[in-house]
Symmetry: C2
């Protein structure tokens, strides 16, 4: 029990170690006040769903819990409730994070309703839509789905088959699913609760296609019956998130008034002609999708919080559970005193901090682009790339970590009362929705290559291609907006890298820089060769698939290390900074260790140094072991919220 009752106010405070409190403040970063306030006011009576609830009960419970939370300030906050209100992306993201401390069905249901459906209306609609629909959306009287994905087209949004055809005779649009593959699928709120959907499809005006646009279509009446021409389906029991009613929607020539098209970026005017503020269809498409970037910021953040919860449970358990007796420990060895157990948990705690710092910087970037401050197209593009990459990295990490925590708790980890298995089920799909992780990493690599190619081709024209690989690389770093701190640190040890210690941040920076730069440069060369090769172009590029993933991961590792170093710079000297510094080393060295084969293959580290890294990881784990409780306190999940039976005395 780490709560203190304050008799005077009737509230309870968490009792933290000094170090834990400092670490938490660092990890909360620029949003420490907002997050502390949210923690203090978050309604926790009804935090976790009973795993025994079936699909219907789970859906009912989830919607009720969402209404309750919304009433208490943890729902549509940040989403405008009408045409005069402004969007507040910071509050929206922090609210999503806070929801992720509890049942994840509620979190995702909230994301579907406010983030996706509400976000489509806010970002793709115009004043009339805001006036008509935002009040209902934010008050939860109008529940809606975000109908983008089709059965035949998961990741390939540009190929959607649904058509939105303008009918001049009646000044309406006709929404149609021409094939079974055009059926919208996996749509939250579609199986049961939603009465409307924001439907993505190919806009056709006067026989001409204008690419993917979004239109609001009523899908159910107030009795819950399908609207005329609409066929909804229930996708029923899933791997997790039972509280979210995912379903299918099919349209058979459904007519809606012209006004229902979300026409901020393109629509049909009173004369029945297509009009858009963006001429280039490709750019229009990406601009429209780009406004939806917040979903990825949220999902990555939510996944990271789930990982923190799991690590908190497993670490706290490992601090009480004893296993075999050993010399000098007749009562049995504490689980966390086994080095193998430390190696399972502590590097993941370090990475949790690293991802948290990167998420903070990502939120700042989102606020800059969407919060009303001046921002450039480059800012937007950088935001999208980072959001895609961090979403993938964080949700993969979440899946791996929750599972590791489950196994680290042995049989107890498998009991639903200890929360890990339910969390694991729910977080699983985070790796797929809001963009399949593998596809998102392809986007990251593609963005890096685009920047690179731009530099490259400019150099090309000046005739210095042979000598340009190096230069291009350096310019690229700037172009992709990773700032120069890492590069400067790296430069300081570039000439004699193996004379540094294994915890020298400059050497970490150098390794991260080299991995990202070299792999990108060689990918660019291989891409170029592939495009010039004869034969099957697809196969030529296909062969680069693993390389593409590597490049994206290497880039994201650099972004994350950068964020950790930035956070360390904010920190005053003392035990707190020393602990964070060790965590940073554990993260950085762990990342190098995981890919030490690559570093040896590319002569970046010697084989003897590589062997030493594993030993240094052991040293760091041993140094951090005494602070384990503070480390998980710093992760920001109050013990009581974990809801794990094994942690109750």
């Amino acid at each position: 029990m780490t709560l203190i009752d304050d008799a005077a106010t009737g509230t309870q405070y968490e009792r933290l170690t000094t170090l834990g409190e400092q670490l938490r403040r660092s990890l909360d970063g620029a949003y420490a006040d907002e997050r502390a306030e949210a923690r203090a006011t978050f309604p926790t009576e009804n935090l976790l769903r009973d795993p025994e609830l079936d699909v219907n009960q789970s859906r009912t419970w989830t919607l009720e819990r969402l209404r309750e939370l919304d009433e208490r300030g943890f729902g549509h906050t940040g989403v405008p409730d009408g045409p005069d209100a402004v969007s507040d992306p910071l509050t929206a993201v922090l609210t999503f994070e806070m929801l992720s401390h509890g049942d994840l069905s509620v979190t995702i249901k909230s994301g579907v309703q406010f983030g996706l459906f509400g976000g489509a209306v806010t970002n793709l609609g115009t004043e009339w839509h805001h006036e008509q629909f935002l009040p209902g959306i934010t008050r939860l009287t109008l529940l809606g789905g975000f109908a983008m994905t089709e059965l035949g087209h998961g990741s390939d949004v540009q190929s959607l088959e649904t058509t939105i055809t303008y009918i001049p005779e009646s000044d309406e649009f006709e929404v149609d699913s021409p094939t079974p593959g055009a059926t919208k699928a996996y749509i939250g709120n579609a199986a049961k609760d939603g009465t409307m959907a924001a439907v993505f499809g190919q806009l056709i005006v006067d026989g001409k296609g204008h690419g993917v646009h979004t239109i609001l279509v009523p899908i159910r009446d107030d009795n819950g019956d399908d609207a005329p021409g609409v066929t909804t389906g229930d996708q029923g029991h899933k791997g997790g998130l039972l509280g979210v009613d995912n379903g299918t929607v099919r349209f058979d020539h459904v007519r809606v008034p012209r006004a229902m098209l979300l026409n901020r970026f393109g629509g049909v005017d009173d004369e029945g002609s297509y009009v858009s503020i963006i001429d280039n269809p490709n750019r229009r498409f990406f601009t429209m999708l780009g406004t939806l970037v917040r979903g990825r910021v949220c999902v990555g953040g939510g996944g990271a919080i789930a990982a923190r919860r799991a690590l908190s449970i497993a670490t706290r358990y490992a601090l009480t559970r004893r296993q075999f007796p050993a010399a000098g420990r007749p009562g049995g060895v504490l689980l966390l005193d086994y080095l193998t157990h430390q190696r399972r948990l502590l590097p993941r705690i370090a990475r949790s901090y690293a991802l948290g710092f990167a998420q903070n910087e990502l939120i700042s970037a989102l606020v800059k682009v969407q919060g009303g401050e001046p921002s450039t197209e480059a800012d937007q593009r950088d935001l999208e790339t980072r959001a895609a990459g961090l979403k993938a990295v964080s949700t993969w990490f979440a899946n791996d970590t929750v599972q590791e925590a489950r196994e680290a708790c042995g049989g107890a980890g498998y009991l639903s009362e200890n929360q890990l298995v339910e969390m694991r089920r729910d977080v699983d799909i985070f790796a797929t929705f809001e963009g399949d992780n593998t596809v998102l990493m392809q986007l990251v690599a593609k963005a890096l290559l685009t920047d690179y190619r731009k530099e490259w081709s400019e150099l090309d024209r000046t005739g210095v291609v042979q000598a340009s690989a190096r230069v291009a690389g350096e310019q690229m770093v700037e172009a992709t907006s990773v700032n120069l701190v890492l590069e400067k640190l790296a430069d300081a040890v570039r000439r004699k890298p193996e004379e540094t210690t294994l915890t020298d941040r400059r050497w970490h920076a150098l390794m991260f820089e080299e991995r990202a730069r070299h792999s990108l440069e060689s990918l660019a060369r291989r891409m170029r060769a592939a495009s010039k090769s004869g034969g099957d172009q697809f196969e030529a590029f296909n062969a680069l698939g693993e390389h593409v993933q590597f490049v994206a991961k290497a880039h994201m590792e650099r972004v994350i290390l950068q964020a950790f170093i930035d956070a360390l710079d904010e920190c005053e000297e003392g035990e707190h900074k020393q602990t964070l510094d060790r965590l940073c080393s554990l993260f950085a060295l762990g990342s190098i260790h995981d890919q030490r084969a690559w570093f040896m293959e590319h002569n970046r580290i010697s084989s003897s140094r590589s062997k030493a890294i594993g030993e240094q990881l052991d040293v760091l784990c041993r140094e951090l072991r005494p602070h384990a409780l503070s480390l998980v306190e710093g992760l920001g999940i109050p013990e009581e919220w974990l809801g794990a039976a094994i942690l109750k005395a």
Copy 2:
């Protein structure tokens, strides 16, 4: 639809490619006839559990399904049904495998009843127990639990706290749980169905402890009420296996007649004295546990079958599903034509074959030891080591593979109707029960070190320690009963390893040998240094934890490659053998690739060769890609049995 109706007999046959049929026969190996027969007769009408069933419904369904299967020859087969019957370990293991093709709760319920509870009575009991209890156990009228694990003691069986105290006055035993930590936990059949348990505890006779023994204790009456002094608990909802009623049992000075002690290896005679056929208590303990080795053989095999089911679903889906359009593929690229997708699935298919061959050899070893043929103590010890290692390796692989298959199917993979998420939930705990995998790998390493130390210390006495590392290593290979085929292959290329191709089996053998041998030798050296070091002995050994795991894995990889090579030797030349050969290369090279850092660190491969391995994996994937359907047919799961909605046209 790959079934052919035979109008004459009313049965359906699977239609397989020629290659698929040949591969299946190879993978079925020495048990091809038995397995084909089992496939042909396995009742499949009720194969998979409805994921919507709640805990109670799941338990009811599971028990009913088990009774149905048992009646049709897929239950207690192989378990003796009375004192005159003999145990048939081969049939028992093959039945467990077959059950693993369907709902895993049924499989595990069967394992608890027939394998664990029945196995304890069979292997630890004597004629009276067989006569009294085996008929009820095999007819499912007496359901029982295997009460070994305690809340306070998961992996540490020797420290169990439950006491079994002989009471001479009444010629009874008193079974007691002296502390809350002594409560039996995670016991299948304990929450609801079981009326008896085989209880493991410390036997105390006349005030003297004789170590862990097993006794049968009634835990419930026919009304389902707890027996006097017994308190059962229900562990309720779990991460999976909802159909198995895991629970807790606590004993408060419960008396049972003397005869209830399973006294094959030790008991109390008519004079009230402890008697045992094995004097050494430690040896007695391990002999008793050793008889239970079949459980690990079964669980490893079952996990491997789950992985095959998952790979069959994901691969068959990837052969129909199209993603982005590409040059020359306007209709979209088949998922399995993406090299990244091939790299996700094909190496895991190769490893599935490898594990299958190793499992076949393990079953042979089990049959040798438990099937009535003459066998030595060394055979028994080798069986235990291999069973522990293969159980760990196979169940880790199952977890990883089912998850990868889930993600490879995207959102569809998350729908319960496609089976992957339910399979993932059920197989999760395979990594923990029947021995936590990490602890099992410690056992493997310990066994290797024991063999090694024996050789070492003998050499020590002859005064040739300095020169002996090499010799010791070679003798050890024999001592641990890996046969000499790998060693011979390795020797052929030992002098110029880098002049081989990357698919040269001799080079694979050399790498596997070197990894296993060198890591074991260096562990032995470090162990020796640790034991001689001053200070905290626990910490000195603790520092070797990761090394211990590496040694065990390296050893198991060698065992598995050996089995693959043995299977290839059985095979006639032709496309079939060529395909198996490529699968073997993909497995072997994948294993080297995963640990190429180690090989470089220990100067076993050059950095340029290491880089080439990744490219060779791509080549092998491309070569195997056209045979993908045959490869999964060979895995032995008829398409209809997969029950995945995405595979239904």
